[in-house]
Amino acid sequence: MTTTQTADLNRLATPPTFQSVSTARKIKNGVATALVYLAFLIAVVPLVWVLYTVIQRGFPVILDIDWWQKSLSGLLSRQQGGGVYHAIYGTLVQGLVCGLISVPIGLFVAVYLVEYGGRSKLAKATTFMVDILTGVPSIVAALFIYSLWITTFGFGRSGFAVSLALVLLMVPVIVRTTEEMLKIVPDELREASYALGVPKWKTIVKIVIPTALSGILTGVMLALARVMGETAPVLVLAAYAPFINYNLFDGPMASLPLLMTAERNNPTQAGFERIWGAAITLVLIITLFNLLATVISRWLAPKTK
């Protein structure tokens, strides 16, 4: 009797919000936690592994100053030495020219879609086409440019043809990211601008784009980094040259992915070193571009104060 009373005294007036958890729920929780960590591990292990392999095999190669300053001109496949200046130049120039063409197109398409298109039929068709272009494999883009630029127009294979194929891959990415960035610019900003009597085009140029600029540029940089690693277009549209070719419009031109493919037929130690060296060089260049994207987006982020 007395025991019951003490128990009653100790009982809380309201039952605690968190009851003790049942075993079944504990097990479920444990399983879910394990699965999440496992998924994380599965995703991270290959990533770290790839990075480790590339660095371990490629890093000693790129320490040589010649690697950054010379081409592979006049070297036999089994002779060590030389560098990949010619391929770095090709990769950068092809990527940058592609960027020069793609950025205006992508930017204007996105501005049209967000600011002018609305729900018109043309805007819908454009969105649809951009979606399809996003899904076009790079080899298809390369073959399309081959049949258009080389077979139909009769130009030779060149670095510029590669740039054109990369444009096809880059434009949809830029349209997508720019569109998203423009969409999150608050309508209040536009309305405030209109209220002051500023015309629409000036609102877009002076208010909307500057607000979204950091995001847009990040998108451009990421797209650029992505297309620079593309292999299919360079395989189809450019011939490999072991020497430096500054002319984007004529003659064979090397690029890092193409150099790796060409050296894959080379079973000697020199070929092995060139492939891994080129791999880490490409990773470094793309990392630099990603870093640049972060820096730019920090610099240009809208000041809130």
Partner: protein
Amino acid sequence: MKTKRHGAVIGLIAAGALLLTACGSDNNAPAGGSAATGTSSTPVECGGKSKLNAEGSTAQKNAIDTFIQAYQQRCPGSDVAYNASGSGAGVKNFNGGQVDFGGSDSPLKADEVTKAAERCQGNPAWHLPLVFGPVAIGYKLEGVTDLVLNGEVTAKIFNGAVKKWNDPAIAALNSGASLPDKDIKVVYRSDESGTTDNFQLYLQAASKGAWTQGAGKQFKGGVGEGKEKSAGVAQAAGSVDGAITYVELSSAQDNKLSMARIDTGSGPVELTTETVGKAIDGATVKGSGNDIVLDLNSIYATTASGAYPLLLATYEIVCSKGYDADTAKAVKAFLTVAATDGQAGLADAGYAPVPKPFQDKLLTAIKAIA
């Protein structure tokens, strides 16, 4: 703090860009200036287009590399880009006008000849056999490094009639050797290849009827495992015990395969520069004039003692006429160097230099290009 870090990154990028734009160089010549490859007396008219573009056979890639080295020594500032994407691609891109000359392991077929003539503004294309590549029958078999084969047994191995390493047919040629009771694992080229074509032509000519599958750029033996490119087959054969394959000498050497000696009827012949040179000496030409197409049956079916019969003649496909003046000059200069100075370095790269009578024939043809 953060701005400082960003500043450092920007600085790094700027420095990198400066480095890139400032000091690129094509000069890879050893500092001492090697005059090792003796420059021959044949005059070379340098000049014309400074960067030639060529594409074709993987089999002659290393040979072309040595030619390019010699070409750069004779004609400083000139260069050639040779894309080793296969004979098929080389001929296609030559006919499409994408490259200045093509490299092919087999002569052009009838329809290719027509297309090549179109590309050369109505002039015939010529075949110039500048690179002779011995094909090794490479194998990897623990405990056996001095295997002897002949055309007939080789054919039977590659069409599946002989399946074990201790088969009596092989044992008969290798008296005294202890052959293990292991399966023969054939490795063949899965991509279209002039090496395969030449190998099958050899089997057809030398197997006394044991090879009935015919020739062609695809392997028709019907056994084994396919691998891409010379490097691929050599690597595959080098990594499996009991494997056998046919591959160019340089790839077999690079992957440290054992190479079979071939018994043509007058004793086993090892693959050396001399034995291959002897076989080339016995070859007859079936092309007319300056179009030097070789009759390979005269090599494959040879019974001359000390002549290694299994080799592949790779051609440079060039226009007899129809280049613009600049290109013609550069093509002639490059080919002249290739036929003279360039041949000296070939033995080191796993090829056989062109014998003297052939060299003269080649130079006559090269001179006639306009």
